[in-house]
């Protein structure tokens, strides 16, 4: 692989690092009591929670580290943390 001059790089490359493998607990979005407020998506330090077509939110498990912040902050308690089976 060629080196970029001066140890520089263009965007997009961090996605090569699939941080989802760090996860011990998985946030499960129940889409039950969810009010579609978007708080989960705003507070996720990974920025890996996205709104779907049906306006419900979902985590991208390729990157979700399972920190549990979204679950703790969800006002509707609609996100449940479940142990990963490995």
């Amino acid at each position: 692989m060629a080196l970029n001059v001066g140890c520089s790089a263009r965007p997009g490359k961090s996605r090569a690092n699939r941080t989802g493998s760090w996860r011990v607990f998985r946030p499960v979005f129940k889409h039950d009591k969810c009010t579609k407020c978007g708080i989960c998506s705003l507070v996720c330090p990974e920025g890996c929670i996205e709104q779907r077509e049906d306006e419900f939110f979902e985590a991208d498990y390729e990157f979700c580290k399972g920190c549990g912040l979204c679950s703790d902050e969800c006002p509707a308690e609609d996100i449940v943390m479940e142990q990963e089976e490995k």
Partner: protein, 685 residues
């Protein structure tokens, strides 16, 4: 045109003709006449450049880094103590491959304090990755600046260059100097074409963090560029000769060496004196000669060997008297030109590889095909829109701990600042977790230089943009250590100068990247690895420094404190700061689960508790006056302290009432000072 000029002024004149767009320098004898002359030219519109009057040499070169990375031709000059103060920045500029040209007016290093000439200052930086050219007289000093820019900016080189000439002996001496016209200079030195630059239309991350195998490769690339520079210097020197009649193609130059039995090896102004002596000694029948080193970096090992062995008649019988500069090396043999130490063994024949090259042998290269080569990127376009907070400008895949407050801060900052922003980062957790080469998480142009110089780098970026008529926003993101402690010098200078940028300090209240050591932002009684709680310690003894007030006192038009636990408020403050002209400051409380000792799922809750207990106050200051404060129904500080391991010693093994009361008192003082209490009506009895 032939003019009788002081050396400094001749050099300043050449610099002017090289058309630097940003000049950043700090005065020091005997360099002062150069920078004064340039300031005068800017003041009289004979030099069309931004002149940044920095508060130190450290900032001078740091600003050059920012300005160069943002796409401007830059210039600085220094000497002695000033160059020593730049030490760290010199290595950094070279590693970032920025074609900065800097004049070194060689002077001795203290102690004892001396303003007089020797070359120990630049010699000490011989391995920093800068080209170094040494001038014998003022004509050569002047001309070498054109050569230096031409070679440094060559896209196959991209290395910074020092043009060195002797303090006083040359700088303050009047000599006849043939100066160029602007047309002649332009014909020789084309306008600066940056190889890559900080550009919102093509966002690149500069100055990333490299693992050891990548690091080795990058250093190797620099060495190869140095090797290529030999030929480029020779060619540029020859071209100069063709155009103006003074040929600088020789990296080393012999004087009466042909049948010399003894050869002096020297560089700088002393060469002239040696030449006179040689003439006298020759008249007495002594077979002596001189080898003048013009180019010291890249080191012309084979060229020296060739000049001393095959070109000169002396062969192995020849005796060499290296150096002759005033500077002895304590604990080393002779002076800095003592050849054995400079990378080539002269007892070998010419054409053999010296140790400089051999050094790389046996070093493992990472498992990639072939050797790394520079790549050119095609530019991609991008249209600008208004700040759209749904935009994700900080990407997934970064390496922060799960639940990291500063990672949240990075996302929110970018949402508030928008995509037409250039980010300057300091060394620390955020920089390291977001840019392990080549995996950058930044979707905006981003640059990291050092731990303590972000404000100076940003000053250079801003000046560079201004010069180019660009309107991108400049946002600095620094940790609390970078901001409260080690970066104070650069920050104070930059705020005083009034650059148009926003400085955001993400405050996780310690040096997290290096393992949770105490900083000036660490709160009272917090246990850190350098302020540990113990049998005779209750943790950090000192209160948190009031940084927002310090920067408000600098005249910052907008200062705000925020918390990641209140994202909407934080984004709004960032947006406001970024759209306020002048240097603005936002300090955001960013809880660190790893350093403070709590579960990552609690980051927001803990951030909120800090505000709700009055230990963290969120306010805005406009022109030094507090204009808006977040009011709360206050909770006792214990509710905050008891959630974190860093305060555990206040509760276990025994409760420490005195310390807890002291912390409560500080919250009460905050409440009083900022008026944060919401007074609840007492229920009727």
């Amino acid at each position: 045109m032939m003019q009788f000029m002081e050396g400094s002024l001749a050099v300043a004149d050449a610099v002017r003709l090289c058309r630097p767009q940003v000049v950043s320098a700090y005065p020091i004898t005997p360099q002062t006449h150069i920078v004064e002359a340039l300031a005068d030219m800017v003041a009289n519109c004979t030099l069309d450049a931004e002149y940044i009057t920095v508060e130190s040499e450290f900032s001078a070169l740091s600003a050059c880094i920012g300005a160069s990375a943002a796409g401007s031709r830059v210039y600085s000059a220094t000497t002695s103590q000033g160059l020593a103060l730049m030490f760290e920045v010199c290595f950094n500029a070279a590693g970032m491959r920025l074609p900065i040209v800097m004049t070194i007016v060689n002077r001795a290093l203290s102690a004892p304090l001396s303003i007089w000439n020797d070359q120990q200052d630049s010699i000490s930086l011989r391995d920093a990755g800068w080209m170094q050219l040494y001038a014998e007289d003022n004509q050569e000093a002047t001309d070498l600046h054109y050569v230096a820019y031409r070679v440094a900016e060559d896209h196959s080189i991209l290395l910074p260059a020092m043009v060195c000439f002797d303090g006083f002996i040359l700088s303050h001496t009047y000599e006849p100097v043939e100066t160029l016209s602007q047309e002649q200079a332009d014909a020789y030195l084309p306008a600066f074409k940056p190889f890559q630059k900080l550009d919102t239309a093509d966002p690149i991350s500069f100055g990333m963090f490299a693992s050891p195998d990548y690091y080795m490769e990058f250093r190797y690339e620099m060495d190869r560029a140095m090797e290529r520079a030999k030929e480029k210097i020779a060619r540029a020197g020859k071209e100069f000769g063709k155009q103006f009649g003074r040929d600088y193609s020789a990296l080393v130059e012999g004087y009466r060496l042909e049948d010399a039995e003894t050869a002096f090896v020297a560089m700088g102004s002393i060469c002239g004196t040696v030449k006179d002596s040689i003439d006298e000694m020759r008249a007495q029948g002594k077979k002596v000669g001189l080898l003048k080193i013009r180019c010291y970096r890249p080191f012309p090992g084979p060229e020296i060997a060739k000049a001393l062995w095959s070109d000169a008649g002396g062969g192995a019988r020849q005796e060499h008297l290296p150096g002759l500069q005033g500077c002895r090396r304590p604990g080393g043999e002779g002076c800095p030109l003592w050849i054995r130490d400079t990378g080539v063994r002269l007892h070998r024949g010419p054409g053999r590889e010296g140790p400089e090259k051999e050094r790389y042998r046996g070093h493992r290269r990472p498992g990639r095909e072939g050797r790394g080569r520079p790549v050119l990127w095609p530019a991609t376009g991008g249209a600008s829109v208004m700040v759209d907070k749904s935009l994700e400008l900080f990407d997934c895949g970064h390496r922060a701990c799960g639940g990291c407050g500063p990672a949240m801060a990075a996302r929110l900052i970018m949402k508030g600042a928008g995509k037409d922003t250039i980010v300057v980062s300091s060394t620390g957790c955020m920089e390291v977790f977001s840019t392990p080469y080549p995996e950058t998480a930044w979707k905006v142009p981003w640059i990291h230089s050092l731990f303590e110089n972000a404000a100076a780098v940003a000053s250079g970026v801003e000046a560079s943009l201004k010069r180019q008529g660009r309107s991108d926003k400049v946002v600095i993101i620094g940790g609390d250590g970078a901001t409260f402690d080690i970066g104070m010098l650069c920050i104070s200078g930059a705020f005083e100068r009034g650059h148009d940028f926003t400085y955001i300090c993400y405050d996780n209240e310690a040096y997290m990247n290096t393992g949770v050591q105490r900083s000036g932002a660490t709160p009272f009684a917090a246990s850190t690895t350098t302020s540990p709680a113990g049998r005779c310690s209750t943790g950090n003894r000192l209160p948190k420094k009031d940084m927002p007030q310090i920067l408000a006192a600098h005249g910052a038009p907008y200062v705000a404190t925020a918390s990641i636990a209140y994202p909407a408020d934080f984004m709004q403050k960032v947006e406001k700061a970024v759209n306020t002209k002048g240097p603005c400051y936002v300090q955001v409380h960013a809880p660190c689960c790893t350093g403070w000792g709590f579960e990552g799922s609690q980051t927001m809750k803990i951030g909120k508790l800090a505000v709700e207990t009055g230990l963290w106050v969120m306010y805005e200051m406009t022109d030094g006056k507090v204009t808006r404060v977040k009011k709360v129904v206050r909770k006792p500080v214990e509710e905050y302290l008891s959630t974190q391991k860093r305060f555990r010693h206040l509760f276990k093994p025994a409760r420490r009432d005195a310390e807890i009361a002291q912390i409560q008192a500080s919250a009460d003082r905050n409440a009083e000072k900022y008026g944060i209490d919401i007074k609840l009506k007492k229920p009727e009895q």
